[in-house]
């Protein structure tokens, strides 16, 4: 069995390697004719640009039907959501220049810097101009010069995102690498590894060590990206994935004792024992930096340094102003125990209706005035009747990456010993059951044998 898995893994990575090795058939054409943006690609790949405009990566939104208290017929995502990991969205934090700080310095800021458009054609735009604004190369080129991708003011004073559209970049096309994806994914949440405390370095993740990259697991078809059910990743392209699929079955272990657990315990629970990054932020009080700009106060750890919280999850999401996280229970027949990174953020709520308010970051970045940020966001959204009061929100993030080497996966004693990682009582087990589940009888013989083998 394990041999078969290894063979599949090697197969996956070989496939990746061979595909990447050969030159892109369009190279000669690009070298001869130069790169004029997506229309150059479309001479051979017709329809790709229009197809891309319909995806989450362009729209930052989709219909969402597994989350409480939202209209399932409307589209939601980074475009319009408000939570306390980043207390705004693409609308209130549309890319702009911040007012000068006390040192007279300004800079550009905006959530939609992580959008592959040029800002003139922004999140969710459509039509021929939008098609030609797509930065195909940010995902497909291995020779992208990132100093050419930045926010600047054009000659009319409008803020635009520039792109590397050089022939050099366009002549080096292939499947996106980890780096292509990490351009945006690494810095989500305000800096490297802040929101998602995982590393995809070669020595840090067992799949990456074997040459398996983002898109070997996320098998993208027609620019639709499969995703999972992280309670704070709402927008999706209509395709879901889990660890179980082409590479792994639901009973992947030669040891039946582990296989018996997979009906109630998600693979991630045992195989991703740590998480990391930011675990708390205060948006009501920003810290002054030595450069004169302010940043939200953030408590954080390095990647893979934080113990996760474990909860039953039936893949539907509780969404209230003070809590966004998993729904589920031991008894609903649909839930499994998943690992989560728990995060708590402080921000302003509207005393009038209890809702979380959002913040335009431009004012507080310049001078730390967070209420001016709330006022600006309220103006942008047309909210007139509000009274800001500080409060906390708790959010659960899925912990779905950085699979640990198998000798560090959770074993019997990690859970069934008295000081195990699971709080059986909080997970809904009766005292009597807890007694049974923490009885060494469950694992003693087995672990003794393993220990003898290893000595």
């Amino acid at each position: 069995m394990s041999g078969k898995i290894v063979a599949i893994l090697v197969g996956c990575s070989l496939l990746a390697a061979t595909v990447q090795a050969k030159d892109h058939p369009g190279k000669e054409y690009v070298l001869k004719n130069g790169y004029q943006g997506p229309k150059t690609c479309e001479t051979c790949h017709p329809g790709k640009a229009r197809e891309f405009l319909g995806t989450v990566h362009w729209k930052h939104a989709s219909k969402v039907d597994h989350v409480d208290n939202i209209n399932p017929n409307e589209e939601h995502g980074m475009k319009d959501r408000i939570y306390t990991m980043c207390n705004g969205n693409d609308i209130v934090n549309n890319l702009k220049e911040v007012p000068p700080n006390a040192l007279g310095k300004t800079k550009f800021t905006g959530c939609n810097t992580c959008h592959p458009g040029d800002h003139t054609s922004d999140v969710g735009s459509t039509g021929p101009q939008a098609e030609q604004a797509i930065d195909c190369l940010i995902c497909h080129s291995s020779k992208y010069d990132f100093s050419k991708r930045k926010a600047v003011k054009d000659k009319d004073g409008k803020v635009v995102m520039t792109q590397d559209r050089s022939t050099e970049a366009a002549a080096n096309i292939g499947r996106p690498t980890i780096k292509n994806c990490m351009i945006c994914h690494e810095a989500a949440g305000g800096g490297a590894m802040i929101k998602r405390g995982f590393s995809m370095a070669k020595d840090a993740e067992v799949h990456v060590t074997k040459g398996i990259i983002c898109i070997d697991c996320h098998q993208v078809k027609n620019h639709k990206f499969p995703t999972g059910r992280d309670p704070n990743n709402w927008a999706h392209d209509g395709i879901y994935m889990t660890c179980v699929g082409e590479c792994h079955s639901a009973k992947p272990h030669s040891d039946a004792d582990y296989n018996r657990h997979t009906a109630t315990i998600a693979c991630q629970t045992c195989h991703i024992p740590k998480t990391g990054g930011a675990f708390s932020k205060d948006f009501t009080k920003w810290e002054k930096q030595s450069n004169g700009f302010y940043e939200p106060s953030t408590l954080k750890r390095e990647v893979n340094e934080t113990a996760p919280v474990y909860a039953w999850y039936n893949l539907t999401v509780s969404n209230t102003p003070h809590f966004i996280g998993p729904k589920g229970s031991r008894t609903d027949g649909k839930s499994k125990i998943y690992p989560f990174k728990i995060f708590q953020g402080k921000a302003y709520f509207n005393k009038k209706d209890g809702q979380l308010l959002s913040m335009d970051f431009a004012p507080p970045i310049a001078n730390g005035d967070t209420l001016a940020g709330v006022a600006s966001a309220a103006r942008i959204l047309g909210i007139k009747d509000y009274e800001p009061v500080p409060g906390w929100q708790t959010i659960y993030f899925g912990s779905n990456h950085q699979v640990t080497p198998k000798n560090k996966a959770l074993n019997c004693a990690n859970c069934h010993a008295l000081n195990g990682v699971l709080n059986f009582k909080e997970l809904g087990y009766s005292s009597k059951e807890v007694e049974r589940l923490t009885n060494p009888e469950l694992y003693f013989e087995k672990l003794l044998k393993l220990q003898q083998e290893n000595e």
Partner: protein, 107 residues
């Protein structure tokens, strides 16, 4: 004779380790936020030096970078001269070895 050599070695080792300890203790980890004024890759592309100008004091500090991910960011210009960096480094033998080298970022 053998015994003397080993005693001498032992003493030398002790002196050395005390020195090393003193040096480490007097120059532990430091951190700064600074603007990059110069990046230079080594010929084998396995290390680089970056000069950071401290945003507070204006002092220039030369940092040595060896981690692959940051080196890659220099090569494809995800990090360029003029960028503002949050850096944690360790002073060893008068050299500043980078532990963390990240672009500053808001949310």
């Amino acid at each position: 004779m053998k015994r003397i050599v080993s005693i001498v070695m032992l003493v030398a080792l002790m002196v050395f380790s005390t020195l090393a300890f003193v040096q480490n203790a007097s120059a532990e980890e430091a951190k700064m936020v600074g603007t990059i004024s110069k990046i230079e890759m080594s010929a084998d592309k396995k290390s680089a030096t970056a000069i950071l100008k401290d945003t507070k004091s204006g002092e220039e500090v030369t940092i040595i970078i060896t981690d692959e991910q940051t080196l890659d960011k220099f090569m494809d210009k995800r990090i360029v001269e003029g960028d503002e960096i949050r850096c944690k480094y360790e002073k060893v033998d008068g050299k500043n070895n980078s532990k963390i080298f990240k672009k500053t970022a808001g949310c």
